[in-house]
Symmetry: C4
Subunit: 365 residues, 4 copies
């Protein structure tokens, strides 16, 4: 039997995680909203794009280094904010953050982590880390949390805006999914003690605390409270992206929450071109959703993204081998990216330009 981490084989790695995890946990990670057409649609959209590689460029040296809001990273990969890493491995978010740092990728810690912001920070003290924030109805608690994140050395906030209400995740509803015994959200907002205990395991109810009345003003409020730049994650339209920038966002992340919120939305690869065209040089643009290959990263950057966020594959690697698994997933993707760049005739990320992509007609082959 071959090792799905070397060479990186994400399909086999997911199958291994499916075997290893409880059904409810696996389904929570894998599932999407409604019929899960957008989960599949994200993947298909990257695969469908066709590359037009350049030849006879000197590619003896290829660099994947870049900066993300000024932070230097060795590769334009970020770990997408995801909840409850300790469901996948006892070392939890600390392992994920350490693995990301070892691979030269940026780590985005979720509000719904099973370890505190400070514990996660301690696992990768020198590395580029950002903090993802859900704004809950108790604004004071949110303000406190983002101040803690700033103090713990997170360099930006990632405001998730596509969960005013929780999507219709049929797998979790059918499974009556709850956090495994012994796990709890380390950063859960305050509530009565009984309610707190209940919430601790009720994953779906936790989302009910999110504030559904956010507006672009929230961006400035967060920036002010934290003193950090704010990335708005969950944007799928050019007009929304501009509204976010006008309201003080430092960057936007094109995302449909991995197909977990609203089904049959536009694939992120398709939304990216519109958003990148609207934003132009005003701000950095990132994208997530279905990134599984180095060639997917090349396509995302050619469409205008500065970096991509990788989600489920990180949890599969964490399940398989803790921090080392996360590192190997991200290093594997980084290696695939470097190879794909060389085979496209590109020695730096700035050379990943739109002409590397064929028009839609070619996408049918």
């Amino acid at each position: 039997m071959t090792d799905p981490l070397d060479p990186l084989d994400l399909e086999a790695l997911e199958a291994a995680a499916r075997d290893q995890l409880d059904r409810g946990v696996y389904d929570y990670i894998a599932g999407g909203a409604d019929g899960e057409l957008s989960v599949a649609g994200n993947l298909a959209a990257w695969s469908r794009l066709r590359l037009r590689p350049r030849v006879l460029r000197d590619v003896a040296r290829v660099s994947t280094a870049t900066t993300l809001l000024g932070s230097e990273v060795a590769t334009p990969l970020m770990v997408a904010p995801m909840a409850y890493h300790r469901m996948a491995h006892p070392d939890g978010e600390a392992a994920s953050a350490a693995g990301a740092a070892a691979a030269g990728a940026l780590y985005v810690c979720s509000t719904q982590a099973t370890m505190s912001v400070e514990e996660v920070a301690a696992a990768a003290p020198e590395a580029a880390r950002w903090f993802q924030v859900y704004v809950v109805r108790d604004r004071g608690w949110t303000a406190e949390l983002v101040a803690r994140a700033a103090a713990a050395g997170y360099r930006a906030l990632v405001l998730t805006v596509d969960v005013p209400l929780l999507g219709n995740r049929l797998r979790d509803l059918r499974n009556d999914f709850r956090l495994p015994t012994g796990l709890k959200p380390a950063n859960a907002p305050p509530a009565g003690a009984a309610r707190q205990r209940e919430l601790a395991s009720d994953v779906l109810a936790q989302a009910g605390q999110f504030d559904p009345s956010l507006t672009p003003d929230t961006i400035g409020w967060l920036a002010e409270r934290s003193g950090l730049p704010v990335v708005v994650k969950g944007v799928l339209r050019g007009d929304d992206a501009l509204a976010c920038l006008d309201a003080g966002a430092a960057a936007v992340a094109v995302s449909n929450h991995g197909g977990r919120q609203l089904d049959t939305v536009v694939a992120t690869a398709d939304a990216l071109a519109e958003v990148a065209a609207a934003v132009g040089d005003r701000a950095e643009v990132y994208v997530d959703g279905g990134i599984r290959r180095g060639t997917d990263v090349v396509k995302a950057l050619a469409l205008g993204a500065r970096a991509v966020l990788v989600g489920r594959p990180v949890l599969w690697g964490l399940t398989a081998a803790g921090a080392a698994g996360v590192e190997r997933v991200l290093s594997g993707l980084a290696g695939e990216l470097q190879l794909a760049m060389a085979l496209c005739g590109a020695t730096g990320l700035g050379q990943l330009t739109p002409d590397l992509l064929a028009g839609p007609d070619a996408a049918r082959s």
Copy 2:
């Protein structure tokens, strides 16, 4: 085993109905004309459309309320007119009407009901109800029937225009499908006694009484006899929609009869845009055919419909649990609609505008 009514899982609910119903009855409900490509095409067309949700709108309060020809409804859902509900459940159309009323949806009673117009009215006396009419060769009988409907509090007539002849429904022909013993069409037109008995069970022959010589003039004739506004159901073209309005129709319903009449017709999602563009603000436009998700409703309204008609899922709910089953199907869809609106950043139906839909290229993902 999970309950397909909570959370609503229409695929499982249909499978349950298939298990529970006689083969002939299930086939009558499920089947379409010829190769049933339009049955599948309706479903595929909604799934294929891609949403472009808006973010950072205050969606703390989302309302699905609207009016349909002046009648207030809590949700833009109608029960499509369908024949012979007592095949699905002994409580028949009364249960369907009561379930619809409980869910805040409008009920359209079929000429081919297995309960009289008065019995159905009595089941939901206060609720918004419309009456679907087939014009038969005996015009006097038709005039009498629509007068009864008006007297029983039905607030509009729905004139079905796509059955001048019955479609080539191969399942019913192969099954030699007849009404189960003990059931008869409550509103069957008059005929000799022997012929009447025969017709009572011969579903296909009943349709032979429909008048194949209808013209737009029929619309005015019906309005005059009933004193009710007339909705023309079965329109797939903009020019036909305008001809109906010119002849006095109050609204049109884009429909291909659930794929049961002419196979390989245009999907209703595809026809809707053309019809809505032609009609503009002159009249209300509705649509049916393959609506299975709250996101389908969002798409229909974004394309210009004021409401949608739901057909087969209502009969599956009726089969499963009578009135309660109908209520849960419709409430489930209404809840999905409300959630989808919130996730699209819309707080009212008026905000479901065409920009929520991506162009055709994105539909391939």
Copy 3:
């Protein structure tokens, strides 16, 4: 078990023929060239087209009658010229011709019939019959044959132009297909006696006698020798259609020989629009390839054809029930056509206009 002839179910009828015929015979009928992509492509192209039916037309009376080069027919259906009907049924081409006549369709007798032109004529003396001609290297024999056809009351010649060489029919090559013992081509061109015996069963070798050097001049030569109008069958391009008319053709038939000659050619439904546009009102245009439903006929006529040729389904009907089977296949299709016309709001073939078809985007549903 249901009868695939009533209601007409061509899929089941083909399955029955597959069970009944020798494998080699079935494969000869069913097969195509190379990978048989064009066999499937013809079928898919008709299915993919979407109808835009009209409503509220008085369709109490619907006529499918028309004329084909002046001959009156009850329905715009022709039996496509096909070889060796006695492989399917001992009554052979006589049964096919009689069945076609009974259904009001036009019969096209093949050069490669297993009964003589006169025998076939005698089976349907009053009916509209045309004769299909392969021009062989021995022009004298061809001249004699078409003169016999004219004398036997065939009213037009159908010149097949897409077999200068025989297509790469892998099934027949693998099966080493030969005519069953006792059958022989009744109209085989002269050859030495030994060669004649060999040819009598070697289906593939027979085609080697066809003249590969035909040019448009052949059209005029045939018309002159026979005194009959000449239909050119096998045209897929507008420019070729015009060249045929300029050379004296009375009509053209858009055909790719049922996918049996060159694989991956344009589907006939796709070629038809181009040819019909080029020809305009100068001449009649027919089409074959994959016609399996009444709706297919509606689409063909809406695209500009005056009639369609039906091939394999006729042989399946012949296999099942001789002349009666042929009649029921053709009557079934004619009935489907009449129903589809009514459901499209058309009372005559002249009302089957291009606006009945949706644009290519709708074809994806």
Copy 4:
């Protein structure tokens, strides 16, 4: 059981090779990069193109003869340069070259042959042969090799430019693929003796010797050292093609290395039109990738190629029957091409013009 070489049935021939070869060898031949989407995409792109054949042309004589950089060939087919033929058959490249010569096709010998340039030349001394060159880091050795090729009568060099680094061939990595015992690359570049032994079997490491810093200047350098015209193979863009010609290339070959280097690149059929349009009459253009039928060759030439390269099918034929197998594969394709030309109404390769191809809409059938 039928012989997959007569009539040529490449699907069956591949299945036979799969049965006969060691798994690792078969996978090395069949595999591609990453998810192998481009392996499949090349095939699909040719199949998807639709032909518009001409009729009533005199095709009694059809010639497939042409010249390739001035060398006369009987058919516009070339054996693509592929490594290690002795893995498929003990007679190795000598058999392939002899088979190609017997079929009238041009042979391109790979740098990574298991027989020396001189041995291969001796197997087909009179035939048109070209030599494929990988430029390795040791330029002196490369210069020596191409001089030997020129001396051995190879008439052109084929510079492969799409392997600056080896693609991510997951099958070979999982199989830890190495050359079977007893085989070694006959033209391996010099290295220390121990390293040499290691390299001799480590197929993947050998590619590590290729020079990743090639630029268009390499073209002129090769031409000068060898005195031969240089064909640049691996071009997928019009701008790159022109840069190659500007740098002295005599021709370009549109290729994505059979999908073995960068996955999800544009299919060669799709890239060909762009490259041919850019090059115009300045130089010859060839194409490879997924050519499996005579109709594929017709399409390639109609899109602007002067000839095609055939890869994996040659190795399947070699596996099955040595030189005779190669000859039959190529003769079979040449025969299919000739037949397809006749059925398109073309008597020479110059008549294979773009109007033989339908537009993209027709490609959906």
